[in-house]
Symmetry: D2
Subunit: 358 residues, 4 copies
């Protein structure tokens, strides 16, 4: 890979920011150069500003870095800026960073629906980087751009769907039910009294995100490289629930294919097994060896046993079987704070470096 790139992290004291720091601490390409957080934290040493909630300690080289305010001027030396900001602040700050010609990789939802902002799951649709020239032209930028990664539960869903779409053609109907971990809500996030001995059958805005994002991600880019071509003929119905699990979103999916008859269970397993993506071909540092890990035991995947497969960068799929109502159904698991958040951003940035965009 290319020589070292300086990275900044916005929202560095939050849950996603902490994950960024762990992923980047010993990274072969990226070096943590600047940490940004709220004005309350700015000026403090990182170790004093953060309520560190990870089981690994704060990396030694980060502990005493001085936290900065989230203003572009403070990050102007950064080749890459990762944003773990809350949606409440991300809109304005990320736009200011973009206008300062910085390369921003955002976890927030704010720009996911923008017509020129790629929404990229790194093991699915890095081809959407093709729209960057168009975005730069629009904003009159030389090296800056903004891309976002997807919502954590969408991320898990689209990886096997992409493998199926590549192998068997488009799907017309997707019905998905999620069981999402508490870490997905950040910190302090879900009060223990709400989730203890309980399931909460609703996560605000999550079902709408899944129904929209899947179609943009699984769609393509128009031939002129100027627009996205979402899959408007694919209908998604999502039900999202919160369960008392620490990390790892489990999703039960039923799909119907346009082409009939649908593939057999065996053909589906084979397609999932053979699936590879650009990040793997580019031999990116965080690319999983297998983008999709298959479990054949009848009671897998399970969050606690499978979330760390491929260091959290794979989606694990099992229980592929016929669906009496649609065509086929299966269960998938995604590590919501790794591939579902910071891990996507970092791997996206690795691909962008390899593609020469950074």
């Amino acid at each position: 890979m290319s020589p070292s790139k300086k990275v900044g992290i916005l929202g560095a004291t939050g849950t996603v920011g902490q994950r960024f720091i762990l992923l980047l601490a010993d990274h072969p390409v990226f070096t943590i150069h600047a940490l940004g957080a709220s004005s309350r934290s700015a000026g403090k040493a990182y170790k004093d500003a953060v309520k560190w909630k990870q089981s690994r300690a704060i990396p030694a080289n980060v502990k005493d870095m001085t936290v900065k305010a989230c203003v572009a001027e403070e990050f102007k030396d950064c080749d890459v800026v990762f944003s773990g900001l809350d949606a409440d602040f991300a809109g304005e700050i990320e736009m200011a960073f973009l206008k300062a010609d910085l390369a921003v990789f955002s976890n927030a939802k704010n720009y996911r629906r923008e017509p020129t902002v790629p929404l990229i799951v790194p093991t699915v649709n890095t081809s959407h980087f093709d729209l960057i020239p168009q975005q730069r032209a629009l904003h009159n930028l030389k090296k800056g751009f903004i891309i976002t990664n997807a919502n954590c539960s969408t991320t898990g869903l689209v990886v096997p769907l992409k493998a199926l779409q590549d192998a068997f053609g488009p799907m017309s109907h997707i019905l998905v039910h999620t069981q999402q971990a508490i870490s997905g809500a950040g910190y302090p996030g879900v009060p223990s009294l709400d989730i203890f001995d309980n399931v909460v059958p609703h996560i605000g805005g999550e079902e709408e995100k899944m129904e929209f994002e899947a179609s943009k991600i699984l769609g393509g880019v128009t031939a002129d490289g100027k627009e996205f071509a979402p899959l408007n003929n694919m209908t998604v119905s999502a039900t999202c629930t919160r369960v008392p699990v620490l990390d790892g979103h489990l999703e039960s999916v039923s799909v119907k294919f346009v082409n009939q008859p649908p593939p057999s269970v065996e053909a589906v397993y084979e397609a999932l097994d053979k699936y590879t993506c650009e990040a793997q071909k580019l031999k990116c540092h965080l690319a999983p060896e297998h983008a999709i890990v298959i479990t054949k035991e009848s009671d897998r995947p399970q969050p606690r046993l499978d979330r760390d497969n491929e260091k959290g960068q794979a989606v694990t799929v099992g229980r592929v079987r016929k669906c009496p109502v649609l065509d086929l159904k299966f269960v998938l698991l995604v590590h919501n704070t790794v591939l579902g958040a910071a891990g996507s951003s970092v791997l996206n940035a690795e691909v962008a470096v390899s593609r020469g965009l950074i």
Copy 2:
């Protein structure tokens, strides 16, 4: 109601048996007369034979009753026999009790598929008691018969489905995803190492049970009272998972109606709200005031907050909304060890008494 009836409980030391005892301890019609358990327990005082796991203490009048072996001779004075036996033993023992002309209400799965055995959810299809004369004729019995209640997750499902079917005609497709409580697996049941910080996306045989039982329960009895007429045109697809919740199965359901256009969300809420059943009309002791409790908050029903609605004999339904793939979707909650098990049996028996079958 009629004068006191003597009841026996088979499998009295197990999880379901303990629930029977609590439900029957102060019952206005039924008096606990005999307790049956394994030969290891037979001869002991109940309090010494049982590993009592309920938060209410063993009722005083039961504590010192002597446990009997599960042989019909010991239960011949019983007007009603409730069986909480495991499937491994239920087949043989319940058949022996039936042949001894006893009235058996079983929680086990063994006879649910029998052509002359009613599979009754007390707030749904007590009309299936109409087949008892046919069953008695077949076995040459005077007062004995056997009925079973449904699997706990099926029980939750069919209550709102019956209300919808009555109001809007048959449904062609049902897609259901369950999140089932650990108490559904009995004791010792699920090892803590399997379910702690985890979800298990499979419960052996459960999906098949739901797909079969729903169709028998929601179907009718032929005009000659000799056979069941299951809904063979209704297709059910179930995914069943185990979650770290103590009591209460949560189910996410999508349905498609035969008659198009489907009812509106408002019409569905109205139909659910107005639904009543025979057990309510007969003013049975354990009949819920509302067979279906409706929650309108966006994040309900929830197991911990809603499982005790109507003392566990109601099904709570919320989040009725359009389904982009089928017609409508909603979330339901059923107390798996009350309406989903012992509570169904006792209410079924109350209806049978009122119908003069006992």
Copy 3:
């Protein structure tokens, strides 16, 4: 008991306030007359102001009551005012209510250390009501007064200690380790990410509270009725931890007696069993039949199985055995939101009514 008394509840929308409402909904003596909460809630119907988190529904007669601001003028018709206010607000508001000559029963810590404010656990030291005339004289009041109940973990501790002290004389040393439920921290309280798959070995201020309060509660009132006589020769060492349990504080206690040799294990069980208190003798509505419930199984008491003993108004004690370091050790359980909070206040008020103080 005496005719109906009007009661007000301060902090009515909070966790303790919700418990007050459930305890008072069908009370034979007290009638809910006024509900007070923050200015944000004042003016709203209770059902709109509250985030109701109980498994029983809001009582019908409370649902539509208009919430008032916590100003004494609005509560002037109340015979009793129960306060579930946070310590941040309780100090000022409760003092204003006291000065308005109202009878205040507080759950907050603010006045527990005041020399003329009784700190009363209703099954232990209702004799401390004897100081009310002195308090009234001090503040120049006719019918008003303020008493507080104890911290939830102290409450559990002092009940068996009082029984032992009555039977065997004073103790010189108490070493106590608590495992406290999440509901003790209110709502939103403990973030799920902090307590899930975890124990937190510290609760701010809790150890100091236990070490101070036990000595005041177990002490007496001076002969002239003007001062408390705390047990200054009893040393308490507390370690307080938070565990992933919904309700019920478990405490492991080792004690050393002044009088040697210490009582036998059998003598201790007998003393605990025979213990009764004034609230029982007065036949107060919420008085437990047994102030101390004894469990003899080797693995009891347990929070989930024993917290509802005597509707949460008892302390359950088990595992009495010799302590190789001090004299004797045992395990106790108290329902932290019933006897440990609202249940204490209401029972204290019942005693006050019987004593003619209200």
Copy 4:
């Protein structure tokens, strides 16, 4: 270190056995040579015999090894035999292996009280290996011997106690309260219905083990190398509870020193911080960099955040403060399945190799 040693694992399919396999998979000195399990498993490939419950996959080189019966003949080529056998079987099997002149490192309790069997916590009392010649003489062995590691909760306790004893002389009284993880009970172990939303204040035999073992481990070996000299003047009082935590035993400890006045809190922190052990000096592979990790935050150590400190081979200590009843108190955390079980055995074996015993 010395050249590769062949190791066998008894009870290889159990919980402790699985941990052994993970610890030994890439070990620089030990090579897995033979796996032993029950006759039910013998003859099967390991991956078919085991119910694998770890979040890391079965190591590739172990997956297809054929499981053997636990008979010494099958393990005669092994330089080291690790036993993760249940106490029900360990007694007889381990004795047979010893008599076959094999070096056995046992996790079972069976031989911990034997007068010539060292009970070794590898960061505390590897000096007890000095008794091996005496043990060999007794059993007439050339290279075989048996040592055991301690109970998991004792292991956590003795590490800081050894540091204190070395620095400040003997302690006369120890009062310890444990909150132990479910993994300590093996698989299937604790039923979820027993521990969910609950604490169980009793673990059979655990309190007695702690009270005995601490005194043997912290004691020495007589000058002639023929006997252990346990600390008979140190009194230990233990209360052991099970909490809903996956891994990591938390212990609250109060101590009284023989030498008065006792050390200050600062002196204790310094002594804990400076403590080192033979395994560290020998630079053993699994020796922690710090045998004791100190946390200074008021709410640490916590199981989920601190159990993996030093890969589970350290004991983490915090909250050192004065105890009003004894002298000082503190909280410690030990990873029960690493240092508390398999990790102790492997590190003990590493020390034995360095000492030339193997």
